[in-house]
Amino acid sequence: MKEQIFYITSWIFIICIGLAIIRLVLGPRGADRLTALAVISSLILALLVLYGTQEGRLLYLDVALLYDVFGFLGILAIARFFRDRESRDRSL
């Protein structure tokens, strides 16, 4: 019973990640791409925690905590990079 719940939930999450990748590819502006990237990062974090609980292994939970920190810092760095590039293009 529990295995079936976890199996179905993780496949639905993987399909949602695939749909968000489509928006990441064809998003017209940078903000749309960052929105899709935030969705993908959060869903992958949920998948890691779900799989770690299903297997009963602590390693996946440690990786999930690190992935949380690095997803947040990654989006922060990408937004900062886009803004710097934009201000440089305006000053030229």
């Binding site: 976890f6 639905i12 999450f13 749909l19 749309d32 929105t35 959060s42 869903l43 779900l50 602590l58």
Partner: protein, 106 residues
């Protein structure tokens, strides 16, 4: 008895998590603007993982994994709204004008 109660609560929580994930992902395609997309897709980017954390906390094997999941929940409560704020502030300073329904005054 106890295992049956936990299983039935897990089914309900997993159903809500799947609904949140599907609705938030579809909102990436149904909305016209990046602000509205950001607001609607926070259903998939913060509510669905939080529901999954509750499901994992309910099914945690031992205390070590339960405390790690609690740590992830606390950091996620801080980092997820901050991410949304960073993206919307970037979009605002980039100069993206919010979408208005045609025929209405701004």
């Amino acid at each position: 008895m106890m295992a049956g109660v936990i299983d039935s609560i897990s089914v309900i929580i997993a159903f809500f998590a799947c609904m949140f994930a599907i609705a938030g992902t579809l909102s990436l395609f149904r909305f016209p603007d990046c602000y509205t997309r950001l607001q609607a897709s926070s259903l998939a980017s913060s509510t669905a993982p939080f529901t999954i954390f509750l499901l994992s906390l309910l099914n945690a094997a031992d205390m070590a994994s339960a405390f790690r999941i609690l740590l992830i929940m606390v950091f996620f409560l801080v980092s997820s709204p901050t991410t949304t704020h960073i993206i919307s502030r970037y979009a605002w300073f980039y100069g993206i004008i919010p979408w208005i329904k045609s025929g209405e005054k701004p």
